[in-house]
């Protein structure tokens, strides 16, 4: 049975770890997006000046 057990453990572990990694990646990116959006909320009250100067 040790080959059978090893097969189940390896396959299920790979799928589980990949699933956890996916969930973690998504959470990290969702946080990055919400941080970026909240960071840009208080933005440009005054636009930058682009033009000719002396």
């Amino acid at each position: 049975m040790r080959y059978v057990d090893a097969g189940y453990v390896v396959v299920l572990s790979i799928l589980f770890l990949y699933g956890v990694q996916l969930a973690w990646r998504r959470r990290r990116l969702a946080r990055a997006v919400s941080r970026a959006v909240s960071g840009s909320d208080g933005t440009p009250s005054e636009p930058s000046v682009i033009g000719r100067s002396s």
Binding site: Y3, G7, V11, G19, L29, A30
Partner: protein, 287 residues
């Protein structure tokens, strides 16, 4: 970037003011999509747990293979997901991307997500097959047609993933990747028919053979079927999450520059400009 003409109070000359930077709205996942994803995730977990329970404790040992038959409840399932569900979907998505009428980055993201998940299942296929092969054939690996072509498939899709990491415009990357996915897909029918076309160590089709007559019976057949369904649900859940990651990554890539500029602008306008202070509005122009 369009600008509007205004009067520069410093120089008294007309100038062009940059408009407020407005990044595209962030991609929001609907409550319905989140609920669907959770339901699929729970079903996948429960189904997989049942498959393991039936496979390891309920089903009887095989007349010829003994307990090793228990590996068969997961090995064909992961192989089915990798070969047909994941890489098949990637192929169809790539075709849809290349077809001018259906061209959309949606198909590109779907193909990328499908390939990544498929590669994980392909690795599981090779490992579980190898663990079954050692006690059955006496070797961990044989340069058998089915095994070798499955390994080639893995290398091809790893190449696809590597190609996607090269810096390029989204459309260029999508087109290149779609062509590579179609090239890699040539190997899918080769893997499928390898057991018929060549004399291989790997057993022939047990469930999906030419006569559509299953050679597996009773509780073994039901456990195998449940394994197929559960692992497919695992794949669907992973695909949904991976697709969402692609959407978020693309949004950040597209808007990162705008957001950084907006941040700098807000920093510049939050502080009072002073002599020699770098916080004064940026002046770009020809003197």
């Amino acid at each position: 970037m369009s600008g509007s003409a205004s009067f520069d109070s410093f120089s008294g000359r007309p100038s062009v003011t940059a408009p407020a930077i407005a990044p595209t709205p962030p991609p929001v996942q609907s409550a319905r999509a989140r609920m669907t994803e959770r339901i699929i995730g729970v079903l996948a977990l429960v189904g997989t747990a049942f498959t393991v329970w039936l496979g390891l404790w309920v089903t009887p040992p095989d007349k010829f293979q003994g307990n090793l038959v228990r590996l068969v409840y997961i090995h064909p399932g992961v192989a089915w997901v990798a070969l047909y569900a994941a890489f098949g979907l990637a192929t169809v998505s790539s075709l849809f991307y290349l077809w001018p009428r259906t061209r959309s980055l949606f198909w590109d993201r779907l193909a990328a997500a499908s390939v990544e998940v498929g590669v994980v299942f392909n690795v599981c296929t090779l490992i579980s097959g190898s663990i079954w092969g050692k006690p059955t054939w006496g070797v961990w690996w044989a340069w058998d047609a089915r095994l070798t072509l499955t390994a080639v498939l893995l290398v091809l899709y790893l190449g696809y993933m590597a190609l996607r990491r090269l810096p390029a415009e989204p459309e260029v990357r999508a087109r290149r990747s779609a062509f590579v996915a179609l090239f890699a897909a040539i190997d899918i029918p080769l893997v499928h028919f390898s057991v018929d076309w060549w004399n291989t160590l790997h057993q022939g089709a047990t469930v999906l053979n030419a006569n559509l007559t299953s050679k597996i019976h009773g509780s073994m057949a039901w456990t195998l079927l449940l394994g197929f369904v559960s692992l497919t649900l695992v794949f669907v859940w992973m695909l949904l999450v991976r697709y969402r990651i692609g959407v978020l990554e693309d949004w950040l890539d597209t808007n990162q520059l705008d957001l950084a500029l907006a941040e700098r602008q807000s920093e510049g306008t939050d502080r009072e400009p002073g002599p020699g202070d770098g916080s004064a509005p940026v002046r770009v122009g020809v003197s």
